[in-house]
Amino acid sequence: MTTNPVETHGLGKRYGGTVAVRDLDLTVRPGEVYGFLGPNGAGKTTTLRMLLGLIRPTSGGVRLFGAPPGPGSLRHVGALVEGPAFYPYLSGRRNLAVLADHAGVPRSRAGTALARVGLTGRAGDRYSGYSLGMKQRLGLAAALLKEPRLLVLDEPTNGLDPAGMAEMRRTIRALADGGCTVLLSSHLLAEVEQICDRVGVLHGGRLVAESTVEELRTGGALRVVAGPEDRARDRVVALLGAERVRADDGGALLVDVERDQAPRVNAELVRAGVDVHELCWSEPDLERRFLELTGGDPDVA
């Protein structure tokens, strides 16, 4: 039996009156990319900090590869928590060399890690002169120093330009394909959807939903724009039943069917003399799902 890279049981953290994380049971399985999704203040960073032993839980516990967080279990873990932080007066390369010493790995790994994040050209410059995106890249390079089996990344694409974001996602995906387990947090649903296998939605410190990205994607509908509207609706209801048909804001019908049923719906409408203007597959509105799950409250949690 392989041990799960991350397991938490009843994990909680309270700051005075604020409950940052409550009763969290989380499992990240070997080799998967797990996305931790939640609005500002949901408790993502707090959870990751507890995983890494930076802060102590007020209840429950954490296991990394079956062991409590600490020097032993962090041996195979690379992490970037809440933005990169380095010594501003040292160069990128020297920063990594110092961290390699702390990690107990050869200093030569610094060069490899820098190349991996595309920072070799500026490696000799002081960190204080780096742009936000370069700092973020150095943060990822530091997380890669140990050639980790588990990567914990807190909002890894923060501050990156679109090309940098795409590259960061590619890098993460490539690491995952190489067998590294990844736990990343984000408040960007699209990002999580692109690179993760599984998603946990955190809200108000609670895990309010958890599913595979596949499951999230199901629930798409056939969007039909046809006239006259009520006639079109009657026909589709007669064909599939009322519970499968709803109208969207723009007067189009959203029909809950398998994709391969689209020709049947079309044929039925045409046969009934309805004009079909548009027939297309509409992806599930993940953004709306996300807002529903998190209460749709624009205020912070």
């Binding site: 930076l54 802060i55 932080a85 010594y87 040292l90 020297r94 010493d101 990690a103 120093l145 914990v152």
Partner: protein
């Protein structure tokens, strides 16, 4: 562990502020232990502090005592700032998380920091000794005086005392930085204690109130001053006065060093790190 020490030493060695502190220590020490007294002796600046000192005190025979004379107060203040930088930098740059997720334990990194403070203090004391020796040799040559040097043991004891005192102040800096989780406030409070409160106690309160005088004998500054005074530091220097015996003073200073180190270590272990 030794690689953590190497990492900590690198962090300080590549930091310009560390060398600035060392340079300031050396310049101040040379100025007040030799340049000003010598100028005073030559009649050039008769009103300046230390200007009345006799020639004998500036000669090579006294160089070790002169070198460590500043450690109870102003060199101590520089050592305290260094200690704050060593520990407080991780709070100021928010780099604790960066370091600790690389897997060293807090205890290991902390111990490496204490070693770094001790190494920095040793470098500072050695630099002070070297400059003091050079300055006294120059004065002896200028004045055509015989260059009798102190015994090796005397120099070693002076160096050891200076090292103990500066490391103690550096460790106080570490404690303040860990307790207050920052850089600026610990430096400020540390200096207020070292430069103002201690002087006020010694110069104003102790002569008026017996219990302050008694209390003072237990404070780190007074014991540091007594220790270096016993090893030849001229008593005209601020903070240098033989209030207690050398043996007791050394023990008390070492006790403070250990106390500061343990308390800071406990605090670092017990609290969350952002």
């Amino acid at each position: 562990m030794w690689r953590d020490v190497r990492a900590e030493l690198a962090k300080q060695a590549y930091r310009p502020a560390s060398w600035l502190l060392l340079a300031i220590g050396v310049v101040l020490s040379a100025t007040f232990a030799h340049a000003v007294p010598y100028a005073g002796y030559r009649g050039a600046a008769s009103g300046a502090p230390g200007a009345g000192r006799g020639l004998a005190e500036m000669l090579p025979a006294q160089f070790a005592g002169n070198a460590i004379a500043g450690t109870p107060v102003f060199v101590g203040a520089l050592a305290l700032i260094f200690g704050v930088l060593v520990a407080g930098g991780e709070y100021g740059y928010a780099t604790w998380k960066t370091v600790l997720v690389q897997q060293p334990s807090r205890a290991t990194v902390y111990t490496a920091k204490l070693v770094t403070v001790a190494v920095g203090a040793l470098l500072l004391v050695l630099a002070l000794l070297a400059v003091s020796a050079a300055a006294s040799a120059v004065i002896a040559a200028l004045e055509d005086q015989p260059g009798g040097w102190p015994s090796g043991t005397a120099v070693l004891r002076g160096a050891g005392a200076g090292w103990l005192v500066t490391t103690m102040w550096g460790t106080l800096g570490v404690l303040l930085a860990v307790a207050l989780r920052s850089v600026a406030l610990p430096v400020g409070l540390g200096l207020v204690w070292l430069l103002a409160v201690q002087n006020l106690l010694a110069a104003i309160a102790a002569p008026l109130l017996d219990w302050v005088a008694a209390l003072q004998k237990g404070l780190p500054g007074a014991n540091a001053g007594s220790l270096v005074a016993a090893l030849g530091a001229p008593t005209g220097t601020p903070g240098v006065a033989p209030l207690v015996g050398a043996g007791q003073a050394a023990l008390v200073v070492a006790g403070y060093l250990a106390g500061f180190a343990l308390l800071a270590g406990w605090l670092l272990r017990a609290r969350d790190l952002d």
